[in-house]
Amino acid sequence: MEITFSRLDDTVARFQLRASSPSFANAFRRAMIGEVPTLAIEDVRVYDNTSALFDEMLTHRLGLIPITTDLKCYVRKESCSCEGEGCAGCTATFTMSVEGPCIVFSRDLIPQDPSAKPAMENIPIVKLTKDQKLVIEARAVLSTGRHHAKWQPTNACGYKNYPVISISEMCDGCGHCVEECPRNILEVEGKRVRVIEGRTEECSLCRLCERACLGSGIGEESAIKVTSDESKFIFVVESDGSLPVKEIIEQALVYIRDRSDDLIEKIGEISEGT
């Protein structure tokens, strides 16, 4: 297995996964979405809320705020030494006390631990008019996207097969496929159609070019053929800001490795027993 990045910054990564299989690619995608833990607000104590939003709506909005997570500092509540009581090792506490008229932003959440703060400062939470007040204490815990989407570290996270476009000798360069292609990846060169250099990855495997080719009256078989390479994948991973993308990828791979080690161990135990 091999990974090459074509783009990598804190929020977006685009990479190619090579010498792999469809099942691994999907396991990898699912691990990134559902198995990488992040912090999100789970419990809210509302001391005073005279805003137009109900407590429930307010806390729902608070829960959706991405919170920067340092996975070395926090453990899951279930596996914490406090036995689920909630301590500094498993819970990040925030306080908020705002009086109107103003718009309450995520920056008004004052974190107890400065490393666990809202990833974006300017998320509007509620608009307050004169004499409206909001006093809140919120607790964020570590969990995974399996339990609730607010713990998902990724926004758009997906892959597609690597496209393989082959153009046979039959091609007469009529250009119908060039016009039809929604991603503009084809061009006519002399009497033949070819893929514009470096744009193969843009292909969405829609096969409109194949249909256009048949429609041009070339015969039973189209001259252009779009297939996919079953061992190569193009991934796009986008982070919501709680974790850098690189860490999401690493954590997902660590998760897959641990789970497969577990499986090997369990199978070993079973076969010893018989």
Binding site: L53, M120, P124, I125, K127
Partner: protein, 62 residues
């Protein structure tokens, strides 16, 4: 209030709303504003395009 995240993909879109509203009132083309704000997917774009702010109507009531 504008939803915090896009319903479909989960991207945090609410910080963009204030700027979107201001620029739209100035008469700018929504397409250009949304492109500027980095809202690429149509799921995120519809969140701003179709939002109706009612918090000011609700505010007089407790």
């Amino acid at each position: 209030m504008i939803p915090v995240r896009c319903f479909t993909c989960g991207k945090v879109i609410s910080p963009a709303y204030e700027e979107y509203k201001r620029r739209k009132e100035e008469g700018e083309d929504p397409k250009r504003i949304l492109d500027d704000l980095g809202l690429e997917r149509y799921c995120c774009r519809r969140m701003l395009l179709t939002h109706k702010e009612i918090i000011d109507d609700l505010n007089p009531y407790q």
